[in-house]
Structures are given as structure tokens and as C-alpha cells.
Symmetry: C2
Subunit: 292 residues, 2 copies
């Protein structure tokens, strides 16, 4: 049980965390701050936060748990703004989709107080962001990756694990480097491909007609192409090296399948697709946690 | 109202058409044939067809409407097997996802009786095929593309339009060439990309770990990678030229976005993603038809 949650960035992720903690009875009071005063006001009006703070530092003041839910490019400036209140009595976490850059930013902003920061990445989201879409169940049944450093305070890592678990999430730990390599493969590259694919169809002369013929397969394949531009600018920039490595692997796989096509190797093509199709049919989203 | 439907290929598409026609009260009797006797038997046992025929020709005998729902590569041999019963008193359609190759096969198989064949492509499907997944509502609210030739019998085209409309589908007409160019863009290329992407992730050394971390975005992006191998072998082979043209366009779009990344052009990248994201957010599946 926490006394006060400070949310910095009252959007979908921060707002949902506030609602989830309240619903679970894990916090007495929520103080929120967003860069845009109208967002903070809306969060208060919607009951997502109890008190609107006028700065990030004021949102942290008196809080024993703090969630940074800002674009990853704003991590360093936000941590700098609150660094005088970062200490092992306060659990400070982020929700960024990249971790190497967040850890670097935290080292620059916090210096030796980096031990009080627990980097976190909940694997969840919605197509539509904003506090108006905040949802107390957003974190139920999702995975949350924590990427603590060797120097991270172990009891804070345990508290982070406990709070995410209490919201229904499954918690995994890995290094920032392994995290970024994995998510370049399973999340960042698919976004890049979906952006490029949608543009390649839409920008051609008959693009408008073609789009009017598209069906459910197209809908699902391109759903992530509607993702938030500033968020994905940051993610792709921050994880550029790993994303480009994964793109290279993808291009090799595409070349190999196209070579079968060009060679009219129908049985080779079918065998290749069969392996892929069976593997994908077996794959499933990580199972929900067992009820306690 | 038809007296008898002959279904050749009692799988998901053929079986669903039979169920839909029955449910709409548009047919008195359904005779079915599949290459595999066990499939035909199962279709009969499930009540999808009334009579199991022992050949494609016997399924057509006495039918005034015939649906070919076989892999596109089997179109020519199937039409050859039934050609003696193809005439303007019988509405014969297929459901193939490519049309140029189907029309060529029909010309070879039917000669001057090509006028009695109405090529059709319903834009619908399910991840799981087979007659056990046949569904009377599969064609409700989908689009159906007809690609008649100049010589196609006009009253058969009208009857085809009427029957699909009666099942709740919206009917469009276009040339086989335009059809294949459009569906290379909005359907065939995304399948190729999803196959290549899934393989590139699964085949790398840490692939198994990576797949265990994937979330809902990955699930939707790769859903079509689980598609039926023999169907997609045929489609990609049959529409190879158009698919490779679309792949080339896609690679150019991917190169352009990666160039922004490599140049650290964050604002250029954000602007590009914003255009795409807004266009995709505005796109929607063709609206359901107005109720009559």
C-alpha cells in the first residue's frame, strides 16, 4: 500500500496506472502533472488523478511511488527536474518502450542516485492514446519487463515487481541490451514495416482505389501503422542500431522467399510457407497469469 | 431461387456458400464434391451439403448454379472435367484470389464456352479453413469482385450480382488485370511480408525467447502468416509479376524511412510517420451494406 502516487505524464499509460492502483486499493492519493495544463486538468476532471501539480517536482513531493509516463526523449529532462527527490524511499519507474537510452538518460540525470530508479516496460497499449482512453485494466495480463542495473536497489526492484504483479501483470527481468534487441525484433521492426508498407500502397497512383478494396487481413497487418508519431519517432531513433540489424535480417528472409518465386519453385515456396504458417499457428500471446 | 447448387471443393469457402444459400432460402438442394472423399463425407455429415457426388461432373449434373472453390491451380483441370455441362443455363463461378490466371485457365478449358463462366473473388476468409469452419455468415458484409470478360454472358453476370447481393455482399466489377494489380498491393504483398517477417524473427538464435516477449501488435501484424500454404503458394505464383512490382515499391518506401533514421532526421521521421498514421487512422474497412 502506497500513500501517494506521483504521475508525470497523464496520458494513456500514466492515467491507466493511476486508475489501476486506485482500483486495486493500493494508493491513497494520486498527484499528477503533464506538460500541457489542459491534459492535467482533464485527468483531474475524469477522476484519474486527485490533485493537479504545477510541476514534475511538485508531483513527486510527498509521493512514495512515482511513474514517469513521458516520451522516452523527455526522460532525461524529467529526471533532472525531480532528481533532488529521487532516493531509495521512493519507487521511481518509467514505462518507456526502449531501455538502453532510458538507462543512459537516467545515468546522466541522476548520477549515483541511479540506484533508486527501476526502468520498466509494460508490453501493452491501445491504438488511441490520451487520458480519455485511460483504463484500469490496461495492465492486467500483460508482461512487464524490468531492466535493473547491477547497482539498482534490490528492495526497490522487489517493490516494483510486487506492484506490477498486484495489477495482474507478469514481471520479467532482463538487461537493457537484451530488452532492446528483443523488442527491435518483435515490436519496433514490425512498426517500421507497417509504416513503410502502408505508405507504399497509399502513395501510388491507384492507391486510393486499392485501399477501398482492402479487407480484414490488411486491417490487422496495418493496425500498428496508426501508432502515435512522436512515440515512434523516439523509439525508432533510440533503438536505431538494433532496428537496422533486424531490418537486414528481414530483407534477407524476403529475398529468399522472392528467389523461390522468381525460380518458379512452387514446391520450395509451399514448403517454406508451411514451416512459417505452422510455427505462427502454434505461437500465442503469453498466457494470462494464474489467478491467485 | 435455384433448384440445385453444385459445390466443387467443400472447404471453408464452398461450404460457407452452401450454408449461406440454404439459410437465405435461395436453393432447394446442395450437391457437393471434394477431391478427398473424407471431406465430402464430412460436409454431408455436418449438413453443409445434402448429397455427396462422386465426381465434379456429377456435382454439376442437374445444377443451375455451380461454385468452384478449389485451389486456383486446380481451376483448369476442374473446368475441363465439367466443361460438357457448362452453358448459359448454369451460373458457374469460382472464388479464387487471383483472376488473370483463372481467366487464362478458363479460356483453355472452356474455349468458346468461356461466356458461361463468371470469375468471382469474395474478399473474406478465416484463419482456419476446412468445412468444419464453414459459416453461413461468411459472405455477409464482404466485398465480392466479379471480373467478367467482354464476351461473358450479361444475364449470368446479373444473376451472379443478384446472388452475392442476396447473401449480404457488396458486388464490384473490374477487369482481371486491375483486380490482380490491386490485390497484389492490398493482400498478396502483406502476406509475403508477414511470412518473411515471421521467419526472420523465428529463425534467429534468440528467436524462441523473442517470440515469448511479443505482444498484441505482433499478434495482429503476423496473423496472416498462419495462412494456408497451398493456397498462398498458388496465389503468389499466379500473381508473381504484380507481387514483385509491389514488393519493389515497398522496398523503396522502407529505404526512404531508414534513410531518415540513419541521418538522425528526427523531425523528418516524425513528419513521415504522422502522414502515415493519420492516413491509416482514417482508413476503414468498406462499410456494411445498407439493410434492404
Amino acid at each position: 500500500m502506497f500513500n501517494q502516487l506521483g504521475v508525470i505524464g497523464c496520458g494513456l499509460m500514466g492515467g491507466s496506472f493511476a486508475l489501476a492502483l486506485k482500483k486495486a486499493g493500493l494508493v491513497k492519493r494520486v498527484v499528477g502533472y503533464s506538460k500541457s495544463p489542459s491534459t492535467t486538468e482533464m485527468a483531474k476532471r475524469l477522476g484519474v488523478i486527485d490533485v493537479a501539480a504545477e510541476s514534475a517536482l511538485l508531483a513527486v513531493s510527498g509521493s512514495d511511488i512515482v511513474l514517469l509516463a513521458v516520451p522516452v526523449s523527455a526522460t532525461e529532462s524529467t529526471l533532472k527536474a525531480i532528481r533532488h527527490m529521487v532516493n531509495p524511499n521512493v519507487l521511481v519507474m518509467d514505462v518507456g518502450s526502449t531501455k538502453g537510452d532510458v538507462v543512459s538518460a537516467a545515468k546522466r540525470a541522476l548520477g549515483k542516485h541511479i540506484d533508486a530508479f527501476v526502468p520498466a516496460h509494460p508490453i501493452t497499449g491501445k491504438e488511441s492514446g490520451g487520458v480519455q482512453n485511460a483504463d484500469a485494466t490496461l495492465y492486467a495480463d500483460c508482461q512487464v519487463i524490468l531492466t535493473p542495473l547491477p547497482q539498482t536497489n534490490a528492495s526497490l526492484v522487489q517493490r516494483a515487481t510486487d506492484v506490477w504483479s498486484a495489477l495482474g501483470a507478469r514481471v520479467l527481468k532482463m538487461t537493457p541490451e537484451n530488452h532492446d534487441a528483443a523488442f527491435a525484433a518483435v515490436s519496433h521492426l514490425p512498426h517500421l514495416l507497417a509504416f513503410a508498407y502502408f505508405q507504399s500502397v497509399a502513395a501510388q497512383p491507384a492507391g486510393r482505389d486499392y485501399l477501398s478494396l482492402a479487407g480484414p487481413g490488411f486491417r490487422d497487418f496495418t493496425r500498428i501503422a496508426a501508432s502515435e508519431p512522436s512515440v515512434w519517432r523516439d523509439i525508432l531513433m533510440a533503438n536505431k542500431a538494433e532496428v537496422l540489424i533486424q531490418s537486414q535480417r528481414f530483407r534477407q528472409a524476403l529475398d529468399a522467399i522472392e528467389a523461390l518465386l522468381k525460380d518458379d519453385d512452387a514446391s520450395g515456396l509451399e514448403a517454406r510457407i508451411r514451416l512459417i504458417s505452422e510455427a505462427r499457428a502454434q505461437w500465442q500471446l503469453p498466457a494470462p497469469r494464474q489467478p491467485k
